[in-house]
Amino acid sequence: MTIPGLGILKGLRQTARNYWSPKVTNQYPESRPTMPDRWRGRLDLIYDPFGEHKCEVCFQCAQVCPVEAIDMSGFDSTGKRIRYGLPEIYDERKDPNAYRRAGLPAAPMRNAARWDEEVDTSWLHGVIDGFGGRPEALVAIFSAVEERYGYLPERALREVSERMSIHWAQIFGAAGLGGFRLLPADGHLVTVCTCAACSFAGGGALLEALCADLGIQPGETTADGSVSLAVADDVAAGALSPALRIDTMVYGPLSVEKARHVVAQRRKAPARSKAAAGTAS
């Protein structure tokens, strides 16, 4: 049982005084607090005392991120570019929207086909379920998709990730490393292996012969678009050296003559299987 009195008035006086006092709130986006030098909360890549980034681009953080918020690319010790996502994204972040926002002239997207194409999801689900949805069958599923579409559309990869409940980052990793094509193309992709075993077994001569035959260098496509040439060092295991891969099929061990013959033969055949012949790409 209380009768209010002076104590309450004292409190009221303090509160009223505070109403007229300067406030202590930090109005965040307009005024950022200065964090001390030692503060560990910054999202920064840190440098070692020699001025090099301490990050080794081991991809562990990106693989383990539960919301897939990390993309990365970097150079490995031999100077080659390694990347985690679709290679085409990482060539440069030439997103036209970003350019427009920055007020720069926007180059058209090189990979426009990726974003607004449709993928036959029911067929894809059929393929996945045909393998029982097992993660070991991922490469086989990729092969099937590439056979149908000629490359791996990003939409299809997203579907696979959803359906098989495999982390998107791992799908990317498997697609990037497995030698699959990630850009649409009409012709065949001929990948010549340049691993150590194939190089010792004469893969260099193979590559030169093919370049001369087709008239293109690795990374280019012939004038009629039927064959693209690429090199990779993970086409086959050492026993098949020297090896080459056309689309998804690996051929080896080959001599120069046999390689030229195989490429010429495959060049004549249509790039897509009959089932996919009627589909738009």
Partner: protein, 424 residues
């Protein structure tokens, strides 16, 4: 349209159906006869016979009594704790705190971690007094390993520990008012805390879970940034504390809700194991910094403060007095701080000889102690922490009977438990 899912009402089932479902759910096949284990299902416990005498006492209802659940989701600020309150009308007759909602298995985790990693695991236990959480294991491990921290490190440790005490007590003032409906003092407490935490982030790199202590010293030396922030803060801290005090201490409504509530006599407090400001507010002059001195406290001058009374108001006033005492201690420490190294030379992975060590510190909630057993390997064999909030909660069932429900939270807030420490 999707079809409606009909959830069967248990009252609709016939006996066989109900028995089958109960078996499937792992419950007893039949409901317990009313009256004997009657109180259990209304508070969400499975129907089973009571397993201890105390449980039988709490969960057996007399005529006119009711079990009410003050559930784990409290708007109150201590953390997740469930209180099963047995009430007759508005009057509480018994209280059973149900703990464990914040259990993170820290003691077990520490058995798999190296000694230095243990110091990072113990931070989030009693998250409002992180430095104390780290201090006790650091002392224990130093005893095990046989290393002494350099003098400057000990002074820095005492400094951050006292700063931690200041902001923990400031927050308690706010929580006490908040649990009773006063929405302002908590914000003043947080203003104080924010400044101190900025200071501590200048020295340790983090604002909350500091990870500052190491076996053999501290991680970083105190730099100019830290001391300049400390100086600025010291200039106006007493005014801040007074600002908070002015709103509540003399407030008649506050006084009527805390004076005479939750009175704990000194004898009862000692019997229950309550320690720290709660014990000293009941008149018992026991302060570990004086009774079993550690670190550099023998070199500092301070008296043990007590309050007569032992009620909520006394516990509140005790904490205000301790804030002022801590500020005084901080002044002395800054005055006397020597130069030197801040970390002794210890190997990367510490392998103490087999043995046991115990270390106790005075945390803002009471006696916080660590008992570590080493078997010679890189991980502790056993790492046991004794948290003061856990023990203070035992006092609640002793104090509550005869009071109203509304007082439950107010009295509990005056003990200032932090569930992180209770549940580890």
């Amino acid at each position: 349209m999707t079809s409606e899912v009909k959830i069967p009402d248990p009252l609709d089932l016939d006996r066989d159906e109900e028995a089958r479902l109960r078996r499937v759910a792992g419950m007893a096949p039949e409901r317990a006869p009313a009256g004997e284990y009657a109180g259990f299902e209304s508070v969400g416990l499975p129907e089973r016979p009571p397993q201890t005498e105390r449980e039988r006492e709490v969960y057996s209802l007399e005529e006119g009594e009711m079990l009410v659940n003050m559930g784990p989701q409290h708007p109150s600020t201590h953390g997740v704790m469930r209180l099963v309150v047995k009430v007759r009308g508005e009057v509480v007759t018994d209280v059973d705190p149900v703990l464990g909602y914040l259990h993170r298995g820290i003691e077990k985790l520490c058995e798999e971690a190296t000694y230095t990693t243990v110091l990072t695991y113990v931070d989030p236990m009693d998250y409002l007094s992180s430095m104390h959480n780290e201090h006790a294991p650091a002392i224990a491990f130093e005893k095990l390993f046989g290393v002494t921290a350099p003098k400057r490190a000990e002074y820095i440790r005492a400094l951050v520990v006292e700063l931690n005490r200041v902001f923990s007590h400031s927050l308690m003032m706010g929580f006490l008012a908040l649990d009773m409906g006063g929405i302002t003092p908590i914000l003043y407490g947080f203003i104080n805390r924010d400044e101190i935490v900025d200071m501590l982030s200048a020295i340790s790199g983090q604002r909350m879970l500091f990870n500052f202590f190491r076996v053999g010293g501290v991680n970083f030396d105190a730099n100019d940034e830290f001391f300049s922030r400390l100086g600025t803060w010291r200039g106006h801290v007493l005014k801040n504390v007074e600002m908070s005090e002015r709103v509540i201490t003399d407030n008649e409504v506050f006084r009527s809700r805390t004076i005479g509530m939750g009175t704990l006599s000194g004898r009862d407090a000692i019997a229950l194991g309550v320690s720290g400001p709660n014990l000293r507010a009941s008149g018992v002059p026991f302060d570990i910094r004086k009774a079993h001195p550690y670190s550099i406290y023998p070199e500092l001058e301070f008296e043990v403060i007590t309050q007569p009374g032992g009620d909520s108001n006394a516990r509140y006033l005790q904490r205000i007095a301790e804030i002022k005492q801590s500020i005084n201690l901080i002044d002395q420490i800054v005055d006397k701080m020597p130069h030197g190294a801040v970390q002794a030379q210890v190997p990367g992975i510490i392998r103490p000889k087999p043995g046991r060590a115990y270390a106790a510190v005075e945390s803002p909630r009471g006696l916080y102690s660590v008992y570590a057993i080493s078997d010679g390997g890189p991980n502790p064999y056993r790492f046991r922490m004794r948290d003061p909030s856990f023990v203070s909660l035992q006092a609640i069932p002793k104090l509550m009977p005869g009071r109203l429900i509304a007082d439950t939270m107010a009295v509990m807030a005056s003990f200032d438990p932090v569930m992180g420490g209770v549940d580890k």
